[in-house]
Symmetry: C2
Subunit: 470 residues, 2 copies
C-alpha cells in the first residue's frame, strides 16, 4: 500500500516562492559580508561526536542529533556488553536491562549533526591554522539541527548566518560589526532596527561593586529579565539568590539609567569608578560609540543596554543583540559578541574572536509582516509560449532559444492542449507574458505577445519580441 | 586535554577559495535552470525513514545514514525487547544476544538523511499535489549523504543538482534537457562535452527481437560493458546468462553500429522492424534528434549510444549521460532520463517525469584540470587599508564606508602593527590593492593607492580613489 507522505516534525519543505524569498535574504546578507571583506567557508553537516559533545552544556548534548554507525553496529555493541558482563556485572543474568541510553549512544554513534556554526568554526580554525592568514574574517551560511520541541518559529532544521573575525582584539571590529548590521538591514529595507550593545566587563564591574562577583551569573540572569518582569521582581530574585540587600541598594542607579549613550556612560562611570574591569568595559564602549557617531549609521540605532547578557559565559567583551523596528512583535533578529578563547577547547590558546549572527527565519517573518519583500523576487518564468502543435512548437523553440541566449527566462507549454488550459497554467504560475505563435503568425513570421496583467496584445517580429522582453 | 580536531572520513571542509569555485558552478547552473523556466524547491535534510527505506535496493538501505531518536530511546527499546522475550522467545534467558541490528534500528531510529534528491522530490510532489500547477518544472541543489566507502572523488556528503519536469509526457522536454546540458557546459566554458542518449524502449525492443525479453536486465548489464570489456567478452557474458547463441548472433548489427545519429537510426530501424516497442523508441529518438538538429547546440554533441543503460529499472524512455570532453579522464559528469511512475510509490499514479542531474564534484575536478575557473572568482577583498594608528584608522574607516556604499569590498587592517606585516597579510590573501593613509596623507586629505601586482603607486583624492576602485 502506498504511504501517506509526510516530513519529520520541526522540518519544512520550501516551495519556489519561499526559496526565492529566503535566497533574497541570503544573497543580501552574503553581498554585504563580502563587501565588508568576509570570506565564506563551509564545514561538513556532521562532525565527530567528540567535537560537539560537551560544548553546549547538558541540555545541548541532549538536543544534538546523533547519527547511527553504519554496518552491524549492534553486533559490535553486543561484544562490548559481553565484556562488561564478565568484568563488572557478573552474576546478573541479563545485563541488557541495566544499560543506560547514554552508554549505548557512545558505542553505536560516532557522528552528530552540526548544532551551531561556532563550534565547527573553532574546530576549522584549529585544524587549518597553518593555512589561515590571521586575522581571519570568515562568514558561514549553513543549516544547523537541534532536537528541540518544535513550536511557532522554532524548527529542528534552520539556517544560521554568521560572520566572525578571529586573531585580533582590535575594537575596530566591533565598530565594523555595528556597521555591518546597519548595512544588511538597510539593504533589506528593514529600517529602524535597534542594535543593542553591552559589555561583559560592565556586568562584571557591577558585580564587583555590589560585592556579588561570585554570583555573576545569578546576577546577570536576573538583570536580563528587567524588561519582562520589572524592577521589583528582579530585586527579589537577586535577594533570593543570596545577593545582599546592601548590594542591591547600590544597584539603584542602574535601574534609573536613562538617556542617550553618552548620558548613560557618564552614570556608569560614576558607579563603576572603583572597578578596574568596569572602567575597561566603559572605555571599550566609548571607543565603539565614538566610531559609530563619527561614521554614522544609515537606518539603525545603536543603544546601550546594560541588562543585555545573552550567553554570558561565552562572551568576554562586547555583547550585541538586534531588535526589530518598534511595533514589530518578534524576539531578537540577530546577536553576537566577543569571545576570547573559543579555540582553546581544541588546543589553540589566546585567539580572540568577535562575531555576529543573523536570524534568518525571524528576519523572513518580519519582512513578510511588513510586506518588505520586493515584488520582483517571486516572479516565475517571464514568458510562456502557447503550444499549437508540432510545427508551431518547433518555431516557438527557436524563438525561446534566442530569448534564453539574451538571459530572458522562457518556456514552451510542453503539450498541445486546449489554449484555455495553457492560459490557466500561465495565470496560476503568475507568468507575466504569453506568446501566441499559431498558424497565422507562423505564415507571417510574427509573434503575438500578450501582457497577462493588462491583457494588451502586440504583433511583433522576433527582434521586437526580444527587445520587448529583454 | 585538548582534542586534536578532525572531521569524519568522507566529509570535507571548504576554504574560501573552494567555496568561491563551487558557488561559481552552482550559480552558473542555477542561472541556466531559471532561464529554462525551472523553479527551486528545498526539502528537509532528513526524512522519515519509511520515506527513504526500500527505495534504493538493499545496498541503498545499508548506505542510508540513520538518525538516533532523541530522549531515552534505549529505555523504550528495552520495553520492546521485554515484550518480545515474553511472547516469542520465552525460554531464552538473554534475548539481547539474539537481537539483530536491523531490528534494533527500526526501534531506535525514525529519521534518516536524504540519500538523493529524487525520492524526496517524489514525496514532495505527492504531499503538495494540490498546490502544484502541472507540468511542474523544479530544480533542487542540495547535499545528500551516503555511507559509501570513501575514495578519490567519492564522498559521504556531496551536492546534487537536479532539474525535473513532472506531469507531462511531451518529448519537447527531452529536447529541452539536451539544450540545458549544452547551455550549462557552454556557460562554464567546458566545450566539447558529449551528451549520450539512448531509450529504454530500444533496449527492450532489442531484447524482444533476440528473444531475451525475460533477461532484459542481464542483457543490458552486459551490453553496458561494451566500452570496457569489448565485443567478445560481452557475448560470452550474455551466453553465460542464458541468452541463446541464435539471439546473440542476431545482435551482430548492434556491434557494428557506426556513423552519425541518422545512420545508426537507419540500422536500428531495420533491426527492430518486428518490435512495436523498439519502433516507438526509434520514433522518440528521431523526434529529439530532429529537434536538436533544427535548433542546434552551442558546444556540445548529441550522440546515440545504444549500450547506455544506467538505472534501467528506473527509466522508461530517454536515458542521458554526459561525458567530459575527449582527453579528460573522468566518469560521467551528468545523467538522467524519463521515468513514468516515480510518484506511484507514494500513491500518485500516472505522473510521467523526466529529469537530469549535474555531478558537481566531477565538474569541479574537470574545470580545475583544464584551468577553466575564471581568475576573478578566487579574489578576496579588493582593497586593504593599512592601519597607522587611531586617527588614521578613523579616516580610513570613512573612506572604507564610502567605498562599500559603492559596492567595493574594502577593509581596514584591524591592528596598528608594523607596515611590513600588514603588507605581508595583503600579499598572502592576494588582495589586489592597498591604501596607505598615514600622517602626510591625513594632512593633505589624500590616499596613496598601491597596485599590489604592478607595484605602481598613485596619490589620489577620495573621489579619485572611488573611481579607481569602482
Amino acid at each position: 500500500m502506498a504511504q501517506k507522505p509526510s516530513i519529520p516534525k520541526g522540518t519544512r519543505d520550501f516551495n519556489p516562492q519561499e526559496v526565492a524569498k529566503r535566497n533574497y535574504i541570503f544573497n543580501t546578507i552574503r553581498t554585504q559580508f563580502e563587501i565588508f571583506g568576509f570570506q565564506p567557508i563551509e564545514t561538513p553537516s556532521f562532525e565527530n561526536s567528540e567535537t560537539l559533545m560537551g560544548k553546549y552544556g547538558d541540555e545541548g548534548d541532549r538536543l544534538i542529533f546523533k547519527i547511527l554507525n553504519s554496518g552491524d553496529y549492534f553486533d559490535k555493541f553486543k561484544t562490548v556488553v559481553k565484556d562488561l558482563s564478565e568484568d563488572t556485572i557478573t552474576g546478573d543474568l541479563n545485563p541488557f536491562y541495566n544499560i543506560e541510553t547514554n552508554f549505548v549512544t557512545k558505542h553505536i554513534s560516532e557522528k552528530a549533526l552540526r548544532y551551531d556554526l561556532t563550534v565547527p568554526f573553532a574546530r576549522y580554525v584549529v585544524q587549518h591554522q597553518n593555512e589561515i592568514d590571521f586575522p581571519f574574517k570568515r562568514y558561514q551560511i549553513q543549516p544547523v539541527w537541534r532536537a528541540d520541541r518544535p513550536q511557532k518559529g522554532r524548527f529542528r532544521e534552520f539556517y544560521q548566518c554568521d560572520a566572525d573575525v578571529v586573531g585580533s582584539d582590535s575594537l575596530w571590529q566591533e565598530v565594523e560589526f555595528v556597521q555591518l548590521y546597519d548595512a544588511v538591514f538597510t539593504a533589506l529595507g528593514l529600517h529602524g532596527v535597534t542594535i543593542k550593545i553591552n559589555n561583559r566587563k560592565i556586568l562584571s564591574g557591577i558585580a564587583d561593586v555590589i560585592g556579588a562577583q561570585d554570583k555573576l551569573i545569578d546576577f546577570t540572569v536576573a538583570l536580563d529579565k528587567l524588561d519582562k518582569i520589572g524592577e521589583e521582581k528582579v530585586k527579589a530574585e537577586m535577594l533570593s539568590k543570596g545577593i545582599p540587600q546592601s548590594g542591591i541598594d547600590r544597584l539603584q542607579p542602574l535601574f534609573n539609567l536613562k538617556g542617550d549613550f553618552g548620558t548613560q556612560i557618564s552614570e556608569l562611570k560614576e558607579m563603576l569608578s572603583t572597578s578596574e574591569e568596569g572602567k575597561k568595559g566603559i572605555e571599550e564602549l566609548e571607543f565603539i560609540n565614538t566610531g559609530i557617531n563619527t561614521l554614522g549609521l544609515k537606518t539603525a540605532t545603536l543603544q546601550l543596554d546594560v541588562t543585555l547578557a545573552r550567553g554570558l559565559n561565552y562572551y568576554t567583551g562586547a555583547i550585541f543583540e538586534v531588535a526589530a523596528p518598534e511595533g514589530v512583535k518578534m524576539g531578537s533578529i540577530g546577536g553576537g559578541g566577543r569571545y576570547d578563547d573559543l579555540t582553546g577547547i581544541f588546543g589553540l590558546k589566546d585567539v580572540s574572536g568577535v562575531g555576529i549572527s543573523f536570524g534568518l527565519d525571524r528576519i523572513a517573518l518580519v519582512l513578510e509582516d511588513l510586506n518588505l519583500f520586493p515584488e520582483t523576487i517571486t516572479n516565475t518564468v517571464k514568458v510562456l509560449f502557447i503550444n499549437f502543435g508540432e510545427a508551431e512548437a518547433m518555431a516557438s523553440m527557436k524563438a525561446i532559444k534566442a530569448l534564453r541566449e539574451k538571459g530572458v527566462s522562457a518556456e514552451l507549454f510542453p503539450d498541445h492542449k486546449k489554449t484555455i488550459k495553457q492560459f490557466n497554467y500561465a495565470n496560476k504560475r503568475n507568468i507575466p507574458f504569453v506568446v501566441l505563435l499559431g498558424e497565422s503568425e507562423l505564415s507571417s513570421h510574427t509573434y503575438t505577445l500578450k501582457n497577462m496583467s493588462s491583457g494588451e496584445q502586440q504583433q511583433l517580429t522576433l527582434d521586437e519580441l526580444i527587445s520587448a522582453l529583454h
